[in-house]
């Protein structure tokens, strides 16, 4: 009994620790998602209760909604690590091994165009831009003209993101320094600002930010980092990042060009 008990207690203790750890590691992603959301909840609660001094409406609905958000964020991050990151990197390695730049560039264009053309945020911005154009009497204030304008704008932005990813991938292949290209892009945007019609400028500047969606970003980042790590002489930190920067810069330029054609 005396000789046995220390062993048993060690065994039990270990077991307790592992159970505790397992439970903790299972809950940890959820706790992290809670922590990610805590600031939004705090800001909204503070402004509602202290500044506006109003009660929080539909309290139960909000609680259920928060649980949905936490569960969704947790699943999304798990899925990133299991699906989006590995496939982005696997494809980058496969293209690098295959050695065909033409296919890689076509893939980059397809990814940029395909992910942007159906982007809901872009559809919303394009529709709003059409109303602005109609009120500025650039196009006729009828549904047909507005739809045509919005469609043209969406195609322009999608095309420009496709072109941006081609330039971005070419840069990784060739090892061009990013900042010269981006600074050149900024200068082009600034020069265009003085020639583009005034009502398009706000939309053009905003369109850079709305093109990169939640699924495109991880995929494109994994592609860039994967390419930079599989090509000799490229540094994943210096050369792998930067694709998103191109994808958010080029729509500004092309949308202003689009505005000038009317």
């Amino acid at each position: 009994m005396v000789t046995k008990s220390p062993l048993i207690s060690i065994f039990l203790n270990n077991n307790n620790i592992t159970i505790g750890r397992n439970l903790f590691s299972a809950l940890k992603p959820f706790l992290e998602s809670f922590r990610d959301l805590a600031p939004i909840v705090a800001v909204i609660a503070f402004f509602q209760l202290v500044v506006l001094q109003q009660p929080i409406p539909n309290f139960i609905d909000i609680l259920i909604g928060l649980l949905f958000v936490v569960a969704g964020l947790t699943l999304f991050i798990r899925g990133l690590e299991m699906g989006l990151f590995p496939i982005g990197e696997a494809m980058a390695y496969a293209f690098a091994r295959k050695g065909s730049a033409a296919w890689l560039l076509l893939f980059a264009f397809a990814l940029g165009f395909g992910t942007t053309v159906a982007e809901p945020a872009l559809i919303a911005v394009a529709a709003e831009a059409a109303s602005v154009a109609a009120s500025a009497e650039v196009i006729a204030d009828v549904a047909e003209a507005k739809q045509g304008y919005a469609f043209g704008l969406r195609m322009t932005v999608a095309f420009s993101v496709g072109v941006a990813l081609i330039i971005g991938v070419l840069r990784i292949l060739k090892g061009w320094p990013l900042h010269y290209l981006i600074i050149g892009g900024y200068i082009a945007v600034v020069i265009m600002t003085f020639f583009a019609p005034e009502e398009i400028i706000g939309i053009a500047y905003d369109s850079g930010g709305v093109t990169t969606s939640t699924i495109t970003v991880p995929l494109v980042t994994a592609l860039g980092v994967g390419l930079a790590s599989s090509i000799k002489g490229r540094n994943p930190m210096l050369d792998g990042f930067g694709l998103i920067a191109f994808a958010s810069l080029s729509p500004m330029f092309f949308v202003m060009v689009y505005g000038m054609t009317f």
Partner: protein, 266 residues
């Protein structure tokens, strides 16, 4: 029933959004690369997680946070509220009287950026690639500070009605100058962090704020002045991320020099 319907609709909408990406990925995989995908089953499960996760996330936001956040944006920009807290009559409001709007803009910009899934993804990747030299939280907080400052300045611009492009040009000039002084490794990541900040969570709330302000401030048109906040939110993180790296480098150098000073005195 309402919840179920909304969840189902959102899942379908998310699938439609993701469909082009899936077609492109698997099309190239099958016809160009012609190699089996490693761990195919795991990757597919991952895709299902991403889809379901994004759909649940959007439903939750739509039900819980967006209605309240948007309502709040309209209430805070309401001239009556501004007149009440500032003690001025609605016709004689000055830009200083909108201080709660600026504070709200900064707070909501910071908070939504911390929860932005695409920023979490990029931060995870950056921490991974840099071997932990860039911490996930360091990057996320640096970006969030940039967005907070950007959106706050953006609301100030709408209230005062100054032209957007002046701010953007000054912002670009700062970025260009910083580029030549910041640690080389951070520059590409900093440029990228401009584009990732504004997606699922930030855009709807910020758009509501811009629209609310532009339609209530006298002399502003929601169609012209309502735009521009997203542009601010994607410009200032570039500056704040480079600044974060510059400050970390400077502090590391300070520490090193005090250490070597100590060595000398010893």
């Amino acid at each position: 029933m309402d919840w179920l319907q909304l969840t189902w609709d959102t899942i379908l909408a998310t699938i439609v959004d993701v469909l082009p990406i899936i077609v492109i990925l698997f099309g190239f995989q099958l016809f160009v690369i012609r190699r089996p995908i490693p761990n195919l089953q795991r990757v597919l499960v991952g895709f299902v997680y991403v889809l379901m996760g994004l759909a649940l996330f959007l439903v939750g936001l739509e039900k819980a946070l967006f209605p309240l956040g948007k309502l709040m944006a309209t209430q805070l920009t309401d001239p009556e509220f501004i007149a009440r807290v500032s003690g001025h009559v609605a016709e004689t409001l000055r830009w200083q009287d909108y201080y709660w709007v600026y504070i709200f803009a900064a707070a909501i910009g910071f908070a939504t950026t911390i929860a932005e899934p695409s920023l979490i993804a990029v931060a995870m990747k950056a921490s991974d690639v840099s071997g932990g030299a860039i911490s996930v939280w360091g990057l996320r907080i640096a970006v969030a500070i940039g967005v907070a400052f950007g959106i706050s300045l953006g609301t100030f611009r709408i209230v005062t009605g100054t032209p957007l492009h002046y701010y953007i040009i000054v912002g670009y000039s700062i970025v260009i100058i910083q580029t030549f002084f910041a640690p080389r490794m951070i520059v590409p990541l900093a440029y990228d962090s401009g584009g990732v900040t504004t997606s699922t969570v930030t855009v709807p709330l910020v758009a509501a704020l811009g629209l609310g302000l532009a339609s209530t401030v006298p002399g502003r048109s929601p169609l012209i002045d309502g735009f521009g906040l997203i542009a601010f939110a994607s410009l200032f993180p570039i500056i704040s991320v480079m600044a974060y790296a510059q400050i970390s480098e400077w502090r590391a150098r300070q520490k090193q020099s005090t250490l070597s000073n100590q060595d000398e005195t010893n």
